[in-house]
Symmetry: D2
Subunit: 341 residues, 4 copies
């Protein structure tokens, strides 16, 4: 039910026109005259009323404001599906008691590198391998990824370690090739509202890891999830990766409060990417601990053998030894919040 707040000077004629418009959409009304304002409560399923109609009511004579009460997403909401969604990939359940750890380099640079990193993170306890084949870069002159070659190397690393592979899709035209190799399809922050891409991954049957947009509200993020789910694919994982604020000492401001908040609003698993979230390797370990403590279902961490030679994001990558140490340090924190890692 929505609420229409009228202006103090709204006339009877204004009210009649609004009521007529609502009734023409099959909705009932409930008029309530207060001492200061009259409000119209709309009765019926206003979720059929798209935002554009709400806007149209807002400009009608006599209307001061329209308040929306129902959430604009459904399939993604906890009310629609109260129990937690658990997504199993390669034997690893995401969203259950065990915290899953996705690790690997920002970009796949060559075969030796990705196989070697996969090996090291596997032995440290990681459960998924990440790596970029198609890279979104702010400069057209930066390294854009190895493409299919990278996907082949990752598949080889998976063959050797058993780690399922997570990689990003940037273009609907790449879906076919990525689906051949990847176990989880990632949508990057800059594409969170690339609606055509969302619809495209919504029709595939592989899990989708949806990163939060650079300045996306929680509501917009869940509506992006709804885009994917509305096409049939319910295997969605949300990934907090920091939002843009005025602060320049960190690359982004990692919003850890989003995790417990999302746990109330949605049944979907929520993981955290501290590497992009802060952009400084020294802060990756403490923020990983924080993420586990607030209730994240998983972590996504950039690991590089030699960050000083990385072709991308060297500043926020940690070395395999630091990763191994971190995995040990996370165990008691996971235990403290009733989880395993």
């Amino acid at each position: 039910m929505d609420i229409i707040v009228l202006r103090q000077d709204a006339t009877e004629e204004d009210i009649r026109r609004i009521v007529k418009k609502l009734e023409s959409r099959g909705l009932g009304v409930h008029i309530s005259k207060g001492t200061e304002r009259t409000i119209i409560g709309v009765i019926g399923d206003t979720s059929k009323i798209a935002d554009e109609e709400e806007d149209a009511v807002k400009v009608m004579p006599g209307v001061e404001d329209v308040l929306r009460i129902l959430k604009p997403y459904k399939l993604a909401s906890r009310e629609f599906k109260p129990q937690d969604t658990i997504i199993e990939v390669g034997g690893n359940p995401i969203g259950g008691k065990k915290i899953q750890v996705i690790a690997g380099p920002c970009a796949v640079e060559n075969k030796t590198m990705i196989v070697s990193i996969a090996d090291k993170i596997k032995s440290a306890g990681a459960t998924f391998l990440r790596g970029g084949a198609f890279k979104p870069r702010t400069s057209p002159y930066s390294f854009q990824g190895l493409g299919e070659e990278a996907l082949q190397y990752m598949a080889e690393a998976r063959g050797k370690t058993g780690l399922p592979v997570v990689t990003e899709v940037m273009d609907p035209r790449d879906m076919e090739i990525i689906l051949k190799y990847a176990d989880i399809i990632q949508i990057g922050a800059r594409n969170m509202q690339n609606f055509r891409l969302l619809l495209e991954v919504g029709t595939c049957d592989k899990p989708v890891l949806l990163k939060r947009g650079l300045s996306a509200t929680i509501k917009e993020w869940l509506m992006a999830a709804e885009y994917v789910m509305s096409k049939g694919n319910q295997k969605l994982i949300l990934c907090e990766r920091g939002v843009r604020t005025f602060e320049t000492a960190t690359r982004n401001t990692l919003d850890l409060s989003a995790i417990p908040l999302l746990k109330k609003l949605t049944h979907l698993p929520v993981i955290v990417d501290p590497s992009h979230g802060v952009g400084k390797w020294e802060l990756v370990a403490p923020m990983s601990k924080g993420a586990v403590a607030v209730g994240a279902d998983g972590l996504m961490i950039e690991v590089h053998i030699n960050p000083e030679e990385a072709l991308s994001d060297g500043e926020q990558s940690i070395k395999p030894d630091a990763f191994k140490k971190l995995m040990e340090e996370l165990k008691p924190i996971a235990a403290a919040v009733g989880r395993e890692i």
Copy 2:
């Protein structure tokens, strides 16, 4: 030339390693020891050094910070091309003395509507017709546009009025069909960093109108322009449409200071979309006047015959009569800043 600031405790060995790395990239160095800090000036064309290498230097032992001095975009910069770029479309030069006005509905709803609006805005003085065929909507349940049908209607409206057509592309797979009908291809705010789409429009020979991203810095925006231009298409128009801030009383915060700032940094034409910038129809007229006063090369204004029945963005659309009145009011302001409208 870039600058590397060393930590107070950097050793001679640290310095040697950094110098070696830079020399291996064909760069010279200039070491300068201050009382508090040693800094290394990098000599040579560091524009060949991508951001990722900068990151890699940042994590070397002894390094405190790396400062970039050269701008990360070239083709778009005023230094590269000092004289203003003027883009002529259908006889209307964009970026010259005359301020161009693009008007029309958010979404094309049917033929009668778009033809009628085109007719009215033409007689009020608009020089381009806008209209959405493919609409980016935050909800999957909202009206997504009529697609090619809308493009055909717009072409018909162009046939009757002579107004060239501006419409948005959301998906590289739609380029072929859009190029058949449109005179200017628009990239929306949510796709400002959809790098594949940028590369795609960079290879066509129609002008591109690039909206600023929801929370994009001026630098990122110019780098998105650089993406398009690096592919060969130099016909780029920038469009300020508001940025996201904490303020909720307006839809976005229209950043008019971006106009005179961009005029210093780039040779490209810059226009303003006050409709999306504020999201409230009552503010469209004053903000249009402000845009002309600060030096915008054009305006993009949402006009709808009946905003109360609009399928999209009714709240921020003005009616043809208000548009006509506004066009008259803009004339003395344009004259005051040495322009025509």
Copy 3:
């Protein structure tokens, strides 16, 4: 009238408890059961209900959200006083047809300097003299202003030019001395929510110029105005000076849309400070033009004889010649919007 939205699982007992609480505050209720949600409309003067009680209702069992409909400020609102407030200072009406221009240096550095600037801006058409005696500086090691000495110099400059004086108060303990010399008391951005200082200036009988806080919403700003007015002083002038965003190319993001928006919400005069708003002298002239075009009642501009030697804010100050040229250029824009300058 406020609205309380209940959770889907709210019980009859929950409703009874809420109703009882409201009735104990002398308020009536209107319960409205929709298909998806029950809402409670609160009848009576909820402006007596402070925010804290609203918070208290929010945490009651069964409550999902509390929506406030009435504006939380009164004396400052256009509804309370529909006609524009015009404040006359030294024969200059602020808020009327004539646009008032306050100019002068950031800080008063010595007598010769302030007298000389006053003389030059007066002949260029400025109607008020600004100058800092007590300066808020982010570093304790920066120049903090000359204090009373500066006030004496400004009074002398007023004696010679007739320009009324605007200066900032930072501390309630300085009020007595400032009231001796100043014609308008300025509250700086950093003190917009220094509530004790607001109450203090609310009891004096001189006009108050209230700058918008660094990240203040329009609502918070008007509530700060309400603080002053609630103490009896109705002579309040609002000054937009830019808000903090993620953009780093300008010092702040000047929010010109605040001007026409405030003109709807409040009867108070609204002026613009483009110098702090952008922080770059090259942008002061275009943004001043924009401010006049969107409907500002005045401008506040930093002018310095020799910005290269300024003890404060040199980067955003313009020279007297540039100021004189700007004043000429503003005339046709003021005329275009039905004003004088």
Copy 4:
């Protein structure tokens, strides 16, 4: 050492003028001509050069930009004092191995209430009592605190429980009375840049708890600390309480990454206020866990016997039972990061 970047078209005359200006301040220069740009390195203690002089150099002919390398704060910096500062209050060391927990109501409402809460939080393990006597409220019509009466009640609660008292000062004129009762003086977020108040608390000998401003950068926050310390008071505790972003689902965005970052930049203790940070009681427990996991030295938590009847901030307060449970849950997390609670 600072760096001055020259424009491509800077002349020899420009350079001579800049060098002369720097030498007149007792500074040396180091000119370095690159292929694209000439830069001037400034030699000597530029910390004597205030920001205003930097601004003045920025506007000199031929100058493109001035880069500051040295940090603008000293006493607060880790470089100045490498070892952690530990502040002992009433036998509780803040900044050491033990995590200190400050709990209590937003505002002191009456004696029974504060004594009862003090008793309950003490038995749950809190080590300090918080409570507002002078309350900063956005509305002049909201409850403003009981003033000295509240301080007396808190002193009584301290007498019964032994818990030292933390309370906020809003006005330099209240210092005398607050110093009579309080053990730690709090500076609230809205007063972080109330420089006169900072100078005032800098001269007292009680520890100061300095909250981060609503949209303050880490650098500005440390400079506010520097204000206090420059007056002699080195007993400063920093308190992260969330920053303002575009997100509206939480009251603020709690920036937990600030904790490990501050631990690198400063020797001062850093605590976290999750209650104001998120503004929703359901999120207080998970965010408290996150704060301990990322390395906070303490927590500040709002506890109220009956949040539904609170006169302030009911929505973000937890009840004594929930607080007790939380204290237990924090123990294993504290242990996991080598701390006690």
